[in-house]
């Protein structure tokens, strides 16, 4: 197991190098001369001064050398200063990580709590109206643009009914630890973010449960007189859940990527929102930090998924 984790960790290195290459190249494709930005486009700057600044910033070096410089700082967590906020870009993004994780984890929990039972029920009632309804529902939820669904929810629950707040994480002036207030802010964005996952979970869970309930060990469990709920919950669902771990990869990717739009709709102060604002404001250090750190989160989630997969399925060889 330890060897597997170590090898899996080593595999992430080339991936992270690739991600950093893309991120670095983007900053160089970006229009505008950074020296101009640095000197505030001063019309009195002489060409020699410009060159001096360029040299001081290391921008006269060949591109590969610049990358090495940049990467060695990035490894130490230094992506430079934000142009808009005059703070460390890394700190700005890191401050948002807990908010994004909170949203992603809430969505993941909702997906599991709603998606898995739906799939199991659909499989047990195969061909019935319930099964049809669940299938329609899961196809429909895949096809709905999530941000649009979020807007509709805001219209209904925040504007018309006034049950839930439409923006932010906390009501201004409330105590930081007012859990109820936090939950009220969390419900809508988390639900919208979880939609696609609920649909995938329900689908996969249906197929897997159908597969599992025809296995011999289910017949054995029934034959030895176990109650049907026990057979389903302990023997069928547990085994049907194993292949779900594979599907988790795509779902985690969506939880991080899709959050970008959802955070915008609900003005949720996460990484996505800040990165988006920085793209619009051409604040490249923050954009680069945002892309690198969100990719890092994704790489870590893939890693966790693979470890969980080995843990839940002893048939997978780790050697």
């Amino acid at each position: 197991m330890r060897r597997f984790v170590i090898r899996r960790l080593l595999y992430t290195i080339p991936t992270l190098i690739g991600v950093s290459l893309i991120t670095f190249l983007i900053s160089h494709l970006a229009p505008g001369d950074p020296v101009r930005l640095y000197t505030f486009g001063d019309p009195n700057a002489r060409p020699e001064d410009i060159e001096a600044v360029r040299h001081a910033l290391g921008l006269d070096l060949p591109l590969p050398l610049q990358y090495v410089d940049w990467a060695s700082q990035a490894v130490r967590g230094d992506f430079g200063q934000s142009i808009l906020y005059h703070q460390s870009a890394t700190m700005l993004i890191l401050a948002r990580v807990p908010n994004s994780l909170q949203l992603a984890i809430a969505a993941l929990v909702l997906q599991l709590l709603i998606g898995v039972p739906l799939g199991v029920v659909a499989a047990l009632r195969r061909g019935s109206v319930v099964d049809q309804a669940i299938r329609v529902f899961s196809t429909v939820f895949h096809a709905v643009p999530s941000f649009w669904f979020g807007l509709i929810l805001i219209v209904v629950f925040a504007v018309q009914l006034r049950w839930l707040p439409s923006q932010g994480m906390l009501t201004i002036g409330k105590d930081d630890w007012d859990i109820l207030d936090r939950l009220r802010h969390l419900v809508m964005p988390a639900f919208v973010l979880s939609l696609a996952g609920i649909a995938s979970y329900a689908r996969i869970m249906r197929t897997e449960t159908l597969e599992v309930i025809n296995q011999d060990y289910i017949r054995t469990a029934r034959a030895k007189g176990l109650l049907e709920p026990t057979v389903i919950a302990v023997h069928a669902v547990r085994n049907a859940l194993i292949p779900m771990v594979t599907a988790l990869g795509g779902i985690l990717a969506f939880l991080i990527s899709g959050a970008l739009v959802i955070e915008q709709v609900f003005t949720w102060p996460g990484i996505g929102q800040l990165t988006y604002q920085s793209v619009v404001g051409k604040d490249y250090p923050v954009v680069m930090a945002g892309v690198m750190i969100s990719s890092l989160l994704l790489v870590i989630s893939y890693l966790l998924r693979d470890v969980v997969y080995v843990l839940v399925d002893p048939r997978v060889k780790t050697g």
């Binding site: 080339p14 991936t15 992270l16 983007i26 494709l29 643009p145 509709i152 219209v155 991080i256 970008l260």
Partner: protein, 308 residues
């Protein structure tokens, strides 16, 4: 239990009646008998025709162009008089329905063209990596893992933010960045197929490598590629709408379903119906594409038959 057995028996008899049919004619037979897929095809065809006929409809039915404004009619509620406001008017009195037609043109064109690029790039890369293996395969695997490790929207966001967005740029960005899923699939299939006897046979009679890949391996993967293409196009419409919603996709005054939504979102307390119609258009298109994908999968992949 008994009825299920009887059903599968009937299905078996039906299947055997069709046993002599080839893959494509069999698939065609199945699709013709699949009402949901037919309905999805019809809906998609109607949407495409409406988008293509946008000019004609705007001139002769609605008597309004997509940029025509009428400030006095701003936020008009849906009404049949005049017909141009059947879905209401936006904040400067432009006809919502006409703009939806033109928006459909842009959204559908972006989706189909970007999907075409995706497929071409994905197939070329996946096929060659799976066939040649070795260093080229390592490079491809590395690129795919790298691209998959950057959250899609972040990746698209920075590229779209770099270039001035317009339909051609958007098609290129979407087309050349989301091919990883297809490449992965084709690569996996090719890995398995290249070891099969018919490939060895083709090699033995002296077929060139390009010929083996294109004439022998590709046709075996092709059915499922159509399935992926339909689902891919649906996904692209969703992504395009999200990017346009963020202001980094299609930018006004060119209407697209996504940017009409953004626009409507800022006025949705005053005129919520403007938020509904573009969303419904996106939803209908994506839903039909997904259902077509599902239907094609059932019709074309014999292994999955009976699983639902």
């Amino acid at each position: 239990m008994a009825s299920a057995a009887a059903e599968s028996l009937v299905a078996g008899v039906r299947g055997s009646r069709r046993a002599s049919a080839g893959l494509w004619s069999d698939a065609w037979w199945r699709i013709r008998h699949d009402r949901v897929t037919i309905a999805a095809f019809v809906v998609l065809a109607v949407l495409v025709v409406l988008a293509l006929a946008a000019d004609v409809l705007a001139d002769h039915v609605f008597h309004m162009k997509f940029e025509d404004q009428e400030l006095l009619k701003a936020y008009a509620k849906p009404t049949l008089d005049p017909l141009a406001y059947m879905l209401g008017a936006d904040e400067i009195g432009r006809s919502q329905v006409v703009r939806l037609l033109y928006g459909g043109r842009v959204s559908l064109a972006v989706a189909f063209l970007a999907s075409l690029i995706n497929m071409t790039v994905g197939i070329a890369i996946g096929l060659s990596a799976g066939y040649y293996r070795g260093v080229w395969d390592d490079i491809v695997t590395w690129s795919v893992t790298t691209l998959n490790s950057i959250p899609t929207l972040y990746l698209l966001l920075i590229f779209a933010g770099l270039f001035t967005p317009g339909p051609p740029v958007l098609i290129a960005v979407l087309g050349f960045l989301i091919w990883t899923g297809i490449a992965n699939f084709v690569r996996g299939q090719t890995f398995a197929l290249r070891e099969r006897e018919f490939v060895t046979a083709a090699r033995t009679v002296g077929a060139s490598q390009a010929r083996i890949m294109i004439r022998h391996i590709l046709p075996n993967i092709l059915p499922l590629i159509f399935v992926l293409a339909a689902i891919d196009a649906g996904g692209i419409i969703l992504i395009e709408s999200a990017l346009s919603y963020l202001g980094l996709g299609i930018t006004p005054p060119t209407p697209s379903w996504g940017n009409m939504l953004t626009n409507a979102a800022s006025y949705f307390v005053r005129a919520w119906w403007l938020v509904v119609s573009p969303g419904v258009m996106i939803f209908l298109t994506v839903l039909s594409l997904y259902l077509i994908g599902d239907g094609l999968r059932d019709a074309l992949d014999p292994r999955l038959r009976g699983s639902r």
